[in-house]
């Protein structure tokens, strides 16, 4: 439908489902300013419609491959991160237990020099220099 009588102002034209689908996909509004920008882009484009459609098909195929590869790498990452967190937590738990044991050790008297040396090392490691994992 065209309102040719109002050409100097705005003119209503019918557009296709394809154009509507593209605007939705791109999340853009076809208001007068948007239309002006899109038309300018279309007129400035050095490519023809058919060339652009071919390029889009290729880009979409490329995106499919990239997305598939990304999902594979992301899945590996999930497994590795999970393993890393689990190991760190295990270490943290054992380390905290050792700290409690080292505190108990403070009140004990060592039996000999060897025990005294090890006792001092454990107290040094799990109380004086203790850092949370």
């Amino acid at each position: 439908m065209q309102l040719r009588s109002a050409r100097v102002k705005s003119t209503l034209i019918e557009t296709s489902r394809e154009i509507v689908a593209l605007t939705k996909e791109l999340n853009i509004s076809l208001n007068p300013e948007g239309i002006r920008n899109i038309i300018r882009l279309g007129r400035e484009s050095l490519n023809q419609e058919a060339e652009l459609e071919r390029a889009l098909k290729k880009l979409e195929e490329e995106r499919g491959h990239l997305a598939s590869n990304f999902r594979k790498i992301a899945s590996q990452n999930g497994q590795l991160e999970s393993k890393c967190v689990e190991t760190r937590h295990q270490f943290g738990r054992v380390s905290r237990d050792n700290r409690v044991l080292a505190m108990h050790l403070c009140s004990r008297t060592p039996k000999d020099k060897r025990q005294s040396k090890i006792r001092d090392e454990m107290i040094q490691k799990y109380i004086m220099n203790y850092r949370n994992a």
Binding site: V8, I19, N31, G42, L52, L56, Q76
Partner: protein, 95 residues
């Protein structure tokens, strides 16, 4: 999609008068809009693909680092388990 399908669901859009005068026909306007939108979509897809490549590369770098981090925590864990045994022996208790 045939021509009939393409026209089966249509929307009206308002073309600024000066632009209509400048381009001259509805057909040329529609073609320019379509080429503009296709061009925009191509740019958007290029960006999406570049973003996916970057995110994949970042994850690959992280995946290469993680085995070393895991190994480091495993070594620390082994050492802590040895210490636990030593501490239990010193305390004369068996947990």
């Amino acid at each position: 999609m045939n021509a009939g399908d393409k026209r089966s669901s249509t929307h009206e859009i308002k073309i600024p008068g000066d632009l209509y005068e400048e381009i001259g026909s509805q057909e040329k306007i529609i073609r320019s809009i379509k080429v503009g939108l296709l061009s925009l979509r191509a740019t958007s897809l290029e960006r999406e693909n570049a973003d996916l490549i970057k995110r994949t590369e970042d994850l690959e770098i992280r995946n290469a680092e993680l085995p070393h981090e895991i190994e480091r925590f495993q070594q620390l864990l082994e050492e802590a388990l040895k210490d636990r045994k030593t501490l239990e022996e010193l305390l004369g208790e068996k947990r």
